[in-house]
């Protein structure tokens, strides 16, 4: 253990205005075991939706999920899924950043909805041995990176990985770390899948963000990781892939599962304010868009509340249509998708087509890949318990 670089930082020290540099990225989804593979599949309009194989389908009403599958098209190894993909995503991100972690003061922040509860369930059903110390990801991450560093596992529901960016910014700003690995991961658990099944009498075959007819969420699996450092003093220095301009955060303090429009709007405005951006500067929105009338209707009204008539022209991407609801990983999966889209100057489609709900009738949702140059995007994430986290991403011109 070493103390914070400057323990007297608590005493009335001036903090530099923040924003963070993304220097590496890693992504594992049902569409691919790496960010390039996933993005190429998105660009080709593919979806990872398929029949449920991880659990016995006869026990469920729903038929489909966005599972990460093996070569045989099956869910494959059921044990320690969330941990396995987390490490894969982190490995890809570290490789992407070309950084030697031993030279840095590192902290790792992992956002998850369900941690390693999938393996705990299997233990309770006497299907495997399981140690409680593996419920959180600290030991696995430290062993994998061969680093003795703080690892924080946050169970922050569906917005968890956007929250990790706020914690990362906190640690960098206060000089508690030089480099933060912010990550998200989730696998599908029987209990969460089952409770979602129990509370939706007409489960859909596909997840359709802001959809008008088929209604409901379908679970996905995945992991995402980004390497974050303070903005370099000199432009063009460092291996910067994109900027995180700012993160907007709030809690509705309203309901355990239902969202609140005012809270969503507040998080968006907080994100804009912290980023020094006006709503007019936002060029692309990656919605939370879970396919449930409750989230999507509320989110649509909140977006209209903040952006007004511009919602007719700002391209809106519903990534969950292609990769499912990856819960803790979903925020960072969208951030990474946005960076790749900025680099390529194109937006992958929302998987469809389908007719949109009334509240989103005029939104600009595209069903084919859209050539589109943009510099500023907004990534929404809203979780159970009214935990709202909105991230502003800015393009970096790569050399």
């Amino acid at each position: 253990m070493t103390w914070a670089k400057n323990p007297s930082l608590e005493e009335n020290q001036e903090l530099e205005p923040m924003g963070m540099a993304i220097t590496g990225m890693g992504l594992v989804t049902c569409l691919g075991k790496g960010k390039k593979e996933t993005f190429q599949a998105l660009e080709n309009g593919r979806t990872g939706c398929g029949p449920l194989t991880l659990f016995e389908p006869a026990r469920f009403n729903l038929t489909n999920a966005y599972e990460i599958r093996d070569e045989a098209g099956q869910a494959g190894e059921p044990s320690h899924r969330a941990t396995r993909w987390l490490l894969q995503a982190i490995a890809e991100a570290v490789q992407d950043a070309q950084v030697d972690l031993r030279n840095k003061k590192v902290a790792v922040v992992v956002g998850t909805g369900l941690r390693e509860l999938g393996s705990l369930e299997r233990w309770s059903l006497s299907k495997e041995a399981f140690a409680v110390r593996d419920l959180h990801f600290g030991n696995a991450v430290r062993d994998f990176l061969r680093l003795e560093c703080p690892v924080l596992t946050f169970s922050n529901a569906c917005s968890a990985s956007n929250f990790t960016l706020d914690v990362a910014e906190q640690l960098l700003e206060l000089e508690e770390a030089d480099l933060v690995i912010a990550a998200g991961t989730d696998s599908i658990t029987q209990s969460m899948l089952g409770l979602i099944d129990r509370t939706n009498s007409h489960p859909p075959a596909h997840l359709q963000p802001f959809g008008g007819e088929t209604k409901g969420v379908l679970m996905g699996e995945g992991a995402a990781a980004v390497i974050l450092e303070k903005k370099p003093k000199r432009a063009g220095s460092g291996n910067v892939k994109a900027w995180i301009r700012g993160v907007g955060i709030c809690c509705d303090a309203f309901h355990e599962t239902a969202p609140e429009q005012a809270g969503m709007e507040k998080a968006m405005r907080d994100a804009h304010a912290r980023s020094g951006l006006s709503p007019d500067e936002v060029e692309v929105i990656l919605a939370h868009g879970t396919g449930t009338p409750l989230n999507d209707g509320t989110e649509a009204k909140a977006l209209t509340g903040v952006f007004g008539e511009r919602m007719k022209t700002i391209p809106l991407l519903g990534l969950k249509s292609s990769i499912g609801h990856t819960s803790g990983a979903s925020g960072l999966a969208a951030v990474i998708t946005s960076v790749l889209a900025m680099d390529k100057g194109l937006l992958p489609p929302t998987h469809g087509p389908y007719s949109a709900m009334e509240e989103a009738r005029d939104f600009r949702i595209h069903w084919e890949t859209l050539p589109f140059e943009f510099r500023i995007s907004q990534v929404n994430a809203f979780g159970f318990g009214g935990v709202n986290a909105v991230v502003m991403v800015e393009k970096v011109d790569r050399v």
Partner: protein, 343 residues
Amino acid sequence: MKTKKVAITGFGLAFPGWQNGMDSFGPDSFGPDAGRIASGGFACEDILGKKGLRYKDQATRLALCAAKLALAETGLEAGAELGNGDGFGVVASSNFGNVDTVCRVAECIEAGHTRDVSPMDLPNASSNVIASNLAIRFGLRGVNLMLCNGSGSGTDAVWVAANCIRRGRADRMLVVGVEPKNIYVERALSDFSDRWLESDRAVPFREGAAALLLESEEAVQRRSAKVLAWVGAYAGGSASMAAFPFMGNTAGLEGLDAWIPPTRMYPPLNALLDAWELRMRESHHGLKVIAMEPEGETYGTTGVLQACLAASLLERKKYRKVAATSGLTWGDRPSSLIYSGAN
């Protein structure tokens, strides 16, 4: 903007089954003020009222109790002082919080079909149900974080919450550590007790919740609140003796006169703890080592409970500066924080 100093202005404890005279460390350890502590046999309804508790799990109930006691004691519980709760956030720490719901629902489905489960279990299946309930119950609309970080989780929660205030993300933070006890927890504990206890006894477990109230210096001054202690520097992530943090000339440690170490319950860890204690005593003349042994593992609650104890000791001017270390249980890495008294 400038970093802000972080004060502890209150705490509350809810530990069923915990009694003075039975444990070497009990409610008495917190001094004569009984108002903040619910122990022995108590009903959550007596503290919280009957309304709205019906489908809440045990961890959520205990967390709400401890929080209520902390907030009531400091007069922050509602009304003009709280305002609309925008600058008031929550960090909760728990590992076992919802495992009873998760395992029970998984088993129910395994034995039949999803039609057999109760939809009322959906909120409790989300691991952040404790943190969101704290926000809903007390109208806290700031940052809301649920830390499930193993045995150092409570200390990490205090650290993250203090950082939120330091950088202006919040004026006030409620930090709550809680662990419930149920058949799944007991089964998990007995599954690896032989390795950690070097016997076939099950690991004893103490369920309960500890709540801590943090405020920025300005928030404290605005309402002329009493400061129990200030939150200082953090160290975490490594158990290596080479990186041992408590050497005498490390900044922030001058004047350290007390240390709350991790539990002594596990024989395999005692050699390391002996070595640490030796180094601590060498580095800090006259150091008092305060054993906090609540007759059972407190896991994700530990770090917050330590902070409450430190705040209590500093408030009563027993010490000037207290370090507290949690973690190490079952192979996790330790986390430490420094607390100093208000002069």
